[in-house]
């Protein structure tokens, strides 16, 4: 805090009297950098010491105690973060991040009931659902549940297919598949991959504009027809930018959506287990599975005149 006061200045009077100033945007950036173990080595060292007391194992040499990254450093050039107990990987000594190296090499227990990696979930509700061990569950029947048309139905007016949203090979979300260079090395905008058989039935050719629609929303994209795709399934790769080359939809008259416009979170009782070791709430999204990715959609060729 003293260091932050030194950098940002001190507030005089009012509720924040004596606190470091957050008057400017850069002050806030300095505050974030000063309060994270990954950019303030002192905190990392402190965090590891606390962790060592809790786990009874040693984390010596992991933290870079005297390293402090300031906002000016990050403006000058990209700066690698330092190793800190928030993350399970070690980047000490210029090493590349890899998950769980701290668990494996420093014997830090995993955040589970047993402290080990385990598949068995010994909880009453899990037993009741028959899911104490990982099991196969067939895709949900969207026709029965939500009145969607059945897979394989339809023809020229649009066919019903499974809709999957895998991560693409180049990117984490829009980084970096959506910069101009990477768009130039692909199809230059949002696309949906489909099999030749499905495309033929719906009268879709490679690079045609298509719309994919279900009860949740609508996507406008160009089709990629490829024999790499199995019949009955389409892919829309995860998180393609909505601000690049997305026209308005014929179905809604509004801007076409992103991959997640067709998915919706679904909760079942086992998702509501809480306060039980690793089965506790953390702020991301609910549920240990990606079941909202288990979707279907009607995909059809739209007018090739698109309006932005």
């Amino acid at each position: 805090m003293d260091r932050l006061r030194g950098m940002n200045g001190t507030v005089h009077g009012g509720v924040a009297d004596g606190r470091p100033s957050l008057a400017r945007d850069t002050d806030m950036c300095e505050a974030i950098l000063a309060l994270s173990g990954t950019t303030n080595g002192h905190l990392a060292a402190q965090g590891f010491a606390t962790l060592a007391r809790r786990t009874g194992t040693g984390f010596d040499g992991l933290a870079d105690e005297h390293k402090k990254i300031t906002f000016a450093d990050t403006q000058a050039r990209p700066v690698p973060v330092t190793t800190s107990p928030e993350w399970s990987g070690s980047e000490t000594g210029g090493r590349r991040y890899s998950a769980f190296t701290i668990n494996v090499e420093h014997r830090k227990p995993w955040h589970t009931l047993t402290g080990r990696q385990h598949f068995f979930l010994d909880h009453d509700w899990m037993h009741e659902a028959g899911e104490a061990l990982p099991i196969y569950r067939p895709p949900l029947n969207m026709t029965v549940l939500f009145g969607e048309p059945g897979i394989g139905e339809g023809g020229e007016q649009g066919i019903t297919v499974r809709y999957l949203t895998p991560h693409s090979k180049w990117s984490i979300h829009s980084e970096y598949q959506d910069n101009l260079l990477m768009l130039t090395l692909s199809r230059g905008g949002p696309t949906i991959w489909m099999s030749p058989a499905d495309a033929a039935r719906a009268g879709i050719r490679d690079n045609d504009w298509v719309e994919a629609l279900n009860r949740n929303g609508v996507v406008v994209a160009r089709a990629i027809v490829s024999h790499r795709m199995p019949t009955g399934t389409v892919y829309m790769y995860h998180a393609q930018e909505r601000v690049v080359d997305v026209p308005k939809s014929e179905a809604s008259g509004r801007r076409g959506g992103i991959h997640n416009s067709l998915t919706r979170l679904m909760i079942k009782p086992t998702h509501l287990i809480g306060g039980y070791a690793q089965l506790s709430f953390a702020f991301n999204y609910l549920g240990p599975t990606g079941n909202q990715r288990d979707e279907i959609t009607v995909i059809r060729r739209r007018s090739q005149e698109v309006d932005y």
């Binding site: 090979k169 260079l181 990477m182 090395l185 696309t191 490679d206 990629i224 790499r228 601000v243 308005k248």
Partner: protein
């Protein structure tokens, strides 16, 4: 007595390429992020089977790149000799058009900030960089990535069309791999031989093939002459440009940008010594299938005392000879015998070689429920699988499947030999013997291919100032003494003194591009006008004030 010369060469291990395009992007940022080179990718990564970039460049019946043998068995350019060229010099039909590369575009990004209040979020729509108009994107530098558009586009793949077996483009039989490509820095470069102005040259110290920007007159015969289509025309300067093997970097002993940034760590750079007097003879062997062996026979053993003596006689410095002995390239081509040239049948003696991928074979095995790491399964599949292997053979050994099979057998042997060790079992020497190696050799190969430590992947000796007159950016004299540079001495402008070093020009161009708001050809970008080349016709950008009376910079 042999005439020993040194060549910087590269090998890429295709099993490790994940098609991430990092190499292409970093290369583009370093070299071709300038006006006039929007469509140019010195490094590109294409999915095979696929059409490649520019499309169908491998169809030499159409593009007529590289060399062929005349009826007397002598080499001649496939596009024809001097006379034929003179007639076509003003309209060269053997040049890929911009549509064969792709029509570069950008997006109306400004709209995202400037759009008025409206019901829907604004989007940036594509605009052609050629016309500046709205466009629907219908081809790109890598349109058929990951077999995109396969059923429609892959049948035009010239390599696929050469296969005698009918290849079904179906899900069950799908196979693919990535092929990263740069200029091959050939020992017998047809680009150099095609140039009517003598502007292209192969550097004598390290074999890098370059375009002399001062002598280039923009005839573009090199574009036709190169069968790999790795010379490009800069439509702003009107001159040819090509992959430089990052000479400013390798001269100081660091790897090319594409290699340095390769995510798969699959590129190797090192020196190869070769007998310059025997290149033409080797390139003219009658049977295309013998070209791979012929090229190997031109490459010299850096440990052979006679070779060392002959190299010294040619003035090759000692540290270069030492680097040649430690060369990973030599190991991969000879000691392990796993690297093959790309399209030896073009007869240019390419010097970027490839380790063909075993993955199409492993994929078939694991896809059918077999153990893809078992030596017998792998050997059996390598013998039985005609299609992926035939395809690889058309790329790397002029259609002869044997060299490809031999390499794949060695890679397969390494896989299963090392798996036993990994699982804590006794090493099985018989696996190594089955492919003509020893267990020790296999482990060495594993170290170079799998561990791939930086210092072992790149063995690049530094350039010697005394060595050459042609070492561009480390040339003696004041390095700031270029036109427009702070040290510029002479009283005359453009075309007097030394050209701007590429690194400097590129730095400014990149800055201009990143700071300008205009879509196409921003007028606040620095333009260069060469008065000596101006023939009085037209009004080159930057020569006159524009209509509004504002002087252009």
């Amino acid at each position: 007595m042999t005439k020993v010369m040194a060549q910087l060469a590269m090998v890429m291990n295709l099993d490790k390429c994940i098609g991430c395009h990092t190499c292409s992007v970093t290369c583009k940022q370093a070299w071709t992020n300038r006006a006039g080179t929007e469509y140019v990718w010195f490094n590109n990564v294409e999915t095979r089977p696929g059409q490649g970039y520019p499309r169908t460049y491998q169809d030499q019946e159409r593009w007529r790149g590289g060399w062929e043998l005349n009826h007397r068995g002598r080499l001649r350019l496939k596009a024809g000799g001097r006379l034929r060229k003179l007639f076509s010099i003003f309209a060269n039909p053997l040049m890929p058009s911009i549509q064969d590369y792709y029509e570069p575009w950008t997006y109306d990004y400004d709209r995202l900030f400037s759009a008025p209040m409206q019901d829907d979020t604004p989007v940036a729509r594509p605009k052609s960089l050629i016309t500046g108009e709205n466009t629907k994107i219908s081809w790109s530098a890598n349109w058929d990535d990951n077999l995109a558009g396969g059923p429609e586009l892959a049948p035009a793949d010239p390599v696929l069309r050469k296969l005698s077996d009918q290849v079904k483009l179906e899900f069950e039989q799908a196979f693919m791999f990535y092929l990263p490509r740069i200029c091959e820095h050939c020992l017998n470069p047809s680009c150099v031989a095609s140039c009517p102005s003598g502007a292209m040259y192969k550097r004598s110290e390290d074999g890098i093939v370059l375009v002399d920007q001062d002598r280039c007159r923009g005839w573009r015969m090199c574009v036709t002459g190169c069968p790999y289509k790795k010379v490009y025309f800069n439509h702003k300067t009107g001159k040819a440009e090509k992959c430089t093997f990052c000479y400013p970097r390798v001269e100081v002993g660091i790897p090319t940008v594409c290699s340095e940034t390769c995510v798969g760590r699959l590129r190797y750079i090192g020196l190869i010594l070769y007998d310059a007097d025997r290149v033409a003879e080797a390139a003219s062997v009658a049977d295309e299938k013998d070209l791979y062996e012929a090229q190997r026979s031109v490459l010299l053993d850096p440990n052979d005392p006679e070779v060392i003596a002959a190299a010294r006689a040619e003035g090759i410095p000692e540290d270069w000879l030492e680097a040649a002995r430690r060369s990973p390239i030599y190991k991969l081509i000879f000691d392990f015998g796993v690297a093959l040239p790309l399209h030896p049948e073009y007869r240019t003696m390419p010097m970027v070689w490839y380790i063909p991928p075993l993955s199409p074979v492993v994929d078939v095995l694991s896809g059918t429920g077999h153990d893809g790491e078992d030596a017998d399964n792998l050997f059996g599949a390598i013998d039985a699988l005609r299609i992926p292997i035939g395809y690889l053979a058309e790329l790397f050994s002029a259609g002869d499947p044997e060299p490809v099979r031999n390499v794949l057998r060695r890679l397969a042997a390494m896989r299963s030999y090392m798996r036993r060790i990994n699982l804590g079992r006794e090493p099985d020497e018989s696996i190594a013997t089955a492919v003509g190696m020893t267990g020790e050799r296999v482990e060495e190969m594993y170290r170079l291919l799998a561990i791939a430590a930086y210092g072992e992947r790149y063995v690049i000796p530094k350039a010697h100032a005394e060595q050459g007159a042609r070492l561009e950016e480390s040339m003696s004299g004041c390095s700031l003494d270029y036109e427009g540079g702070p040290g510029m001495g002479g009283p005359f402008g453009e075309a007097s003194g030394m050209p701007v070093p590429v690194a400097v020009e590129n730095f400014h161009a990149l800055k201009d591009r990143q700071t300008t708001g205009a879509l196409v050809d921003p007028e606040d970008r620095q333009n260069r006008v060469n008065l000596l080349n101006w023939d009085g016709k037209g009004t080159p950008d930057g020569l006159f004030p524009d209509r509004n009376g504002r002087k252009q910079p």
